[in-house]
Symmetry: D3
Subunit: 291 residues, 6 copies
């Protein structure tokens, strides 16, 4: 019985140590803005969804301002299928006509966005869900490749709303639908939307939750950290390839636009964000400026 008590006490003391280990990180990031692109497995598996909601609630409580930008590809695909609306992709972008955009909006702004909001609220945080149409938060124009239809490039971010909501203790959760200058609406790639918002806010961190370990070398070993200038070479050497290219591109753009640090993090790992932020050994690839 005594050893059990000792065990308990030891465990207690372990816990306290952990809280204290987080102190320098809490101090370092107090008041900072982190823009987090939320998607992939972390948004699909029930337990990962709950963990994510806890994670961002904790960030908010220790003084960090998390801004969530989410995707929703698979759910969109499912509803399109249920409605028997055919869909196809050109260069990784979903060809989006009026009917498809309506489905995209219903899923992103109506379903996914509010589910994330509810999860965070249930975990103790206070979230407010917005689409890029709200208060003209995101302004876009048609992408150059008109074949893809109503897909847009962001040309303006109304940071005023985001800051206001954030300053009042809420966590903004943003669906990547944008208002068009010509009265239209646009579907925006979530990674790009998140990066643009991070730039507009001069965020301290831009974190991309993905379904891969991070950036890997030719032997499949993870790069823990990379400099902006190294990215170009890795692409030329075909070490960074495929879907990872636009992701590192978002990071590089964010860094150029004033974001301090960017992270490509494995969203399949529970609490990947907390591990990346509050421990010395993160769980993905950090891409930083060259100095």
């Amino acid at each position: 019985m005594n050893s059990e008590k000792n065990g308990k006490e030891k465990k207690m003391s372990e816990k306290v140590k952990t809280l204290l280990e987080a102190l320098p990180y809490i101090k370092k990031f107090a008041g900072s803005t982190f823009v987090i692109k939320y998607g992939g497995a972390a948004m699909e598996e029930v337990s990962l969804k709950t963990e994510f909601a806890k994670d961002v609630s904790l960030l908010k409580f220790v003084g960090i301002n998390p801004i969530i930008v989410h995707g929703g590809g698979p759910m969109i695909g499912r509803l399109l299928k249920d409605l028997k609306i055919p869909t196809r992709f050109v260069n990784g972008l979903r060809v989006t006509d009026e009917k498809t955009l309506e489905v995209v909006e219903m899923v992103l702004s109506g379903l996914v966005n509010k589910e994330i909001v509810k999860n965070i609220n249930d975990m103790g945080g206070r979230a407010i869900g917005l689409s890029g149409k709200d208060g003209k938060l995101l302004i876009a124009k048609q992408v150059k490749d008109t074949k893809v239809g109503l897909v847009g490039d962001i040309i303006g971010v109304n940071t005023d709303i985001i800051r206001e909501i954030s300053r009042h203790g809420y966590i903004p959760v943003i669906a990547p639908i944008a208002d068009g200058v010509n009265g239209k609406s646009y579907n925006i790639n979530a990674d790009t939307a998140a990066g643009s918002i991070a730039q507009a806010l001069s965020a301290e961190k831009f974190i991309l939750l993905t379904d891969v370990k991070g950036v890997m070398d030719s032997n499949g070993k993870l790069f823990s950290t990379l400099k902006k200038s190294e990215i170009k070479k890795l692409i030329q050497k075909k070490i960074i390839t495929g879907g990872m290219i636009p992701k590192v591109g978002c990071c590089v753009d964010a860094l150029k636009g004033g974001v301090r640090e960017t992270h490509i993090v494995d969203g399949r790992v529970p609490h990947a964000i907390l591990l990346e932020i509050f421990t010395d050994r993160g769980v993905g690839t950090e891409i930083t400026g060259d100095k």
Copy 2:
């Protein structure tokens, strides 16, 4: 040519007179909060939609704080039909299972809400769309009649968010989906949701946009104004019947809860709201307290 010019000048001068006639109303309502239940024809016909967006933008610009709460019944019915999900009503309430609620949310929060937001933004106002889940804006519990499924009664309104958004120059547009205390979500009758929000805000006006002329007597003549105490008698005398009963009920509840004036307004009339507010002769029935 001269007469043409005189005609123009006369028209100009008419316009100015109209602007000035609005002055006492603008003065009277400066700083007031108006909760407007938006629905029916005014939300379906293209031209009425545009006019409504202009109207609420104007209200905001002349110093009134409009809060929009919207329904979306027909659009919900359409998507349910497209998805081949059967639906039925009990006592005027849609029986709502998990699958149906998902569709309700997609349509209300994702489609209808954002369309209203976009319309207002395009007319010069600045709107932000929220569902009752955002920041736990609306908290509900299951209605007594459990046969209807996930339909809720409002038991709490987080006015803090609404006021904050309104104070920052934005027009809140609210979809009547509520957060449940037990982790569930609920579909809320839009009239009731609007009335509850009006009460919680102690709004100066609660305006119900409907597809009828207002409350009518046995000869089909419109009551321009009614007192709270007269309503009960008119129901007993079967002069107020059917779908009008819950509507006048919302108004009476709102008055009891501290709202100053309530209006049942014909949303099929273009600019019904402006006519009701800025002219002596409104376009519906005003229901007021007994003093």
Copy 3:
């Protein structure tokens, strides 16, 4: 009877349309500062006085900050006559000795200023009357031509008070009497005073209410709009002559000093200000910068 009703309804709907036509102008000018030189017929005729008071009240209610600077020539003349104090003019400036200045102050600060204030207050606005001596709002030095006596050129404007009063929802009404650096007081030309205040406030508009139609060409046709650079030529060509020269001079100075747009408006036309601001076709001459 029915047609009468239809007529009424049509009229109602006309009114609402007018309100809505003003919306883009209201939006455009929300938060702007308009400095209005008030004088001439608009300050003499009873009905025009009332209309003016309504107009500026409306401007304030729709979010514009009107600042009124007024003259008072004829009333001054009358009191001087009643008191048998002889008076004469040199180059359009009243020769002002101590005794005359006392009369000028009594009429401007005591009578005219407070009447304008009362008119605006009675029309629903909230006005506060100030002379340039209040809080050293206007600082002047003697004009070069010492023959005219206590007539001054403005060398400083204390914008702090004006902004403060304006920010608190009041309409400042300013009598053009200035404090002298040497302990004296000065009579200031009202057009000049208004222009200087507009400059000091970097006003969006400077509006000169006069008793003429505006700037006219050699055929007596009104220039609707003129550029700053055209003014000089029109003076050289003797198209702009006489009393109009100092008026356009005030406008040109205001433009040089940072005012965005200036207007010479016919104060004899009822609601000239509203027509100029809220309709496409104004009632005077607009003088703008050269770009």
Copy 4:
């Protein structure tokens, strides 16, 4: 030469002692509001005028908020005479027709008010002159005795403006002209106006500057201090008589209305206000509540 130096040094040291003696009073009254009725000799003699301006400037600089309400009887009489307008008094109130009121306003708001403002500004303070019409600062209704014409009783004070101006570092100087609820303007007795303003502001002190030593007993000896309850008896015993009766009445009303202390002070004594406030031995009669 040494003794001269010693003399100088002694004088210096005397001065410093005086500054320090004021310290407890400065501390006691920091942040307090003093309403001062300014009139009589103190407003007529050149040197007293200058001293008064210095005094209130000093009050403001040491953290007290002086509010000046002034009369102007003699100047009004002079202008009426110059204009050959006959005038007469009923029960101490000037019978005021439209023409007379115009003269009253010109003198009070235009001349006297602005002269006080200028004097204070020249002495280093920052004053703003207002009439009771400005921002509807004073609202009045006709006195019961309609024979006196446009003479009013105050029924409302807009303290918002006074506080705002005072909070911004300015000294409000108020002319006792009031706005009527029926669109008329009224002449107000300056003592009464000052007392009403003191009540509305819950002033710490209400100071009546007069041309007498204060309240005197039957032997002509000054009462240094009197309690509210003693006043009635002194009037009954005919010790307080004539023009002193309304003055003590103002004080008693002010005390009933929440003013902490009232003073009837001899305005003929230079710096009477400073002596009353900053030294133990005042120069008039203090009337306080009964506790």
Copy 5:
């Protein structure tokens, strides 16, 4: 190697879980004020001192406002000894003459207070040390038992300074020296001072760090929690005895004065405060109100 990696990962994940377990407590106490009496072993042993500084820094960073009140008995004893000043105690209070008080102040305000401040600052918090004399933070009068000399009972707390400093992100550290109404200074028992400050601030928690396990029953078993009403009985039954009596007295007084919860915590246990606040099983006795 793989198992090593797994071990690391497991450890990481443990850490994250701990952070998240703290979330409900962080949420619960966000914005709360905790007054902590700091003394005993926790203030003597080097490692405990460092841990304490970390703990309060962490509290501050997660949104709690810790207020530290410290003792300093042993250090005072040492300096008195070094200076060969004899000292004695009456009823647990140090007999304090002028010379002794000087030593007490030097040690408490000069040495102990600043060492705590420095420790906290070095651990990442931002502390400001104050004595009760600063801004008359603590006002005291002589205790009844005059034999003890300059020992005081607190009769006033200036919470304004504490709140201000706390609101600006600093942790106030307070030495229990008080200002006397009669110009004297007083030595205050640190437990009492802390309790009085907790009451004055209506603190959520008052935590007494001591060198015992907490309140124990007759078998030496710790009471985890006690109600206010139980304390009296335990004293009567002589279960609570000796030095514990005044400590529980401080807690009971604090509860009566509006403090929500009080804790007697074992300061010899590292991180006792964090364990008490952030885990379900605390390390001392909680004394609460009777409901």
Copy 6:
């Protein structure tokens, strides 16, 4: 008896004149920050201590923000002697080991600082005592000459705390102990500390209270005023020598760092500060910039 009364009245009137003579100085310095190095006789003699406390209280009440930085040499020496700790000086700096620094801190932060605070509080001001460790107000590094031990040069001033405390109506009183970047604490020369704080605050005045008349010429005559550029020459000519050299050095550094005026004032003269500030003929040497 009459002449006695006249005498009294004359004296009164003298006092009022003195108050008014201070008005232009009060006006000139309203809102200014004065950093005062307090030391020497003014900190030792009982009556001078009281006078100083009165003086700075008065400064605060008339709108100036005094910041006090104090020394404490003689008291430190006494305690070191009592504790039989040997002490010695190198180039005017006390050789400071750990034990000595502890004594320095106890005396400065614990005794002298709190005595000054109490004196000011007793005279009506509201003071808060801080050491440079509080909120890391002063950051220092070891002086180059390592022989002197823990003596530091200031490398950073946290003006945020000083301004915050000052803005809230308190007078900051600062003991010249600094926090070291390497975890150590340092003893700082009080003149230098005061000068650095004055620079960091861009103070309007930096006043050095000393025990000499000021800077004197070769005939022992006081320089009333000196320009920065003259100082160097006077040192080269050996007119400024010995202990005066570092004092004028502090002034010159302060001027270079943005302080507007510096004063070396004779602290043995009662109310030296007030005489220097509020009268034309000061009591020391003013050193100003070269323009």
